[in-house]
């Protein structure tokens, strides 16, 4: 009994000693990399994402990000630091206020308008379709009546075309 109690106590002490130290090590976010950040940060003088920017300012931004990575900051912390220093325009995702809100609203509005347009026009197209079929060919023009001679010539041409295919 005494041995069992001592074992439990030792296990608790071990868990107490290792636990807090071990948890942050497992929960630590992955180390930020320049590759991972480059497409989420803008070159603020060239107005393109950093991963496709080639300018002295872009090189300087890459250097700044490398310095922040070296300080041990996470990806989110680096983005927050850049936003604090240079403003929200430094991030590739446009801010969701002011005129920039249009970047989010316009595509939604266009999509809704297109769906509405389709919903309004589809019934009309479906109503027209049977009428066109009744008229004959897709264009709606009725076929002319063939004379017996023309019909014979057409049959002959079709037969020749069939033979040519074989």
């Amino acid at each position: 009994m005494r041995r069992a109690l001592l074992t439990i106590l030792a296990a608790l002490l071990l868990a107490g000693g290792l636990g807090p130290a071990a948890v942050p090590a497992f929960a630590a976010p992955p180390r930020a990399t320049l590759d991972d950040l480059e497409d989420e940060v803008m070159c603020d003088t060239c107005n393109v994402p950093l991963n496709i920017a080639d300018s002295p300012r872009a090189d300087q931004e890459r250097e700044e990000i490398r310095d922040l990575i070296a300080q041990g900051l996470t990806k989110d912390e680096i983005k927050a630091r850049l936003r604090d220093r240079y403003g929200p325009q430094i991030l590739a995702l446009p801010p969701s206020d002011g005129f920039s809100l249009a970047a989010y609203l316009v595509p939604v509005a266009v999509a809704v308008a297109l769906v509405a347009l389709l919903l309004a026009l589809l019934p009309r197209w479906r109503r027209r379709a049977p009428g066109a079929a009744a008229g004959g060919v897709a264009g709606g023009a009725p076929l002319p009546d063939l004379s017996p001679a023309d019909a014979a010539r057409l049959d002959e041409d079709l037969a020749r075309w069939d033979r040519g295919r074989r």
């Binding site: 300012r57 240079y86 316009v106």
Partner: protein
């Protein structure tokens, strides 16, 4: 007769899109109103006098309004800008000259990594105060979106000369003299 509202809605949406595009283009156009006034010989009040920018070295913020009563050569620059490096000696000479009459050059960094800005200041022996405009709180008010650009302000905080591009010693001499003379101008 029953009328279908779809074409009207589509037209309204199309017009709204065109209006949005036009606004986007117009909003991004260079603002030349300050240049036009200076070209006409007017001395418009400098914009953004109350904007407080952080100093590059040390704590604290400074506003152009704090410099009223002194001739100011306001220079927007960045360490990554080649012409800014070439014009640095001319601005430092202007600072030496202005110091004697109580004036000053004020450098304002534009989208620049402070570590590199400080290196620039050391390399070119910049002795005048330098402020940081990383968030572009001041530069757009002067219509600045390219570098370098220089504005000369008289003692009343009015713009008397503008140089968009690399500044020349001759421009600085003329502009500072004009700012000194601007005292009596309307």
């Amino acid at each position: 007769m029953k009328r279908n509202g779809v074409p009207i809605v589509a037209a309204v949406l199309a017009l709204a899109l065109v209006a949005l595009l036009v606004y986007g283009v117009v909003a991004r156009r260079d603002d030349t109103s300050l240049d036009d006034q200076v070209k006409r010989g007017a001395r418009p009040p400098a914009p953004g006098l109350g904007v407080a920018l952080p100093a590059l070295e040390g704590p604290g913020r400074q506003r152009l309004a704090d410099l009223k009563g002194r001739v100011v050569v306001l220079n927007f620059w960045a360490s990554w800008c080649g012409p800014c490096q070439r014009e640095a000696p001319a601005l430092e000479r202007a600072q030496k000259r202005l110091e004697r009459s109580g004036g000053t050059v004020v450098g304002v960094t534009y989208k620049d990594y402070p570590k590199r800005s400080r290196e620039f200041v050391r390399r070119y022996g910049v002795s005048y105060p330098t402020l940081q405009d990383a968030k572009l709180e001041l530069a757009p008010k002067f219509g600045t979106n390219k570098l370098p650009e220089t504005f000369v302000l008289d003692r009343r905080g009015r713009v008397v000369a503008i140089s968009r591009g690399e500044v020349s010693p001759a421009f600085l001499d003329r502009a500072i003299a004009r700012a000194d003379r601007a005292e009596d101008a309307a």
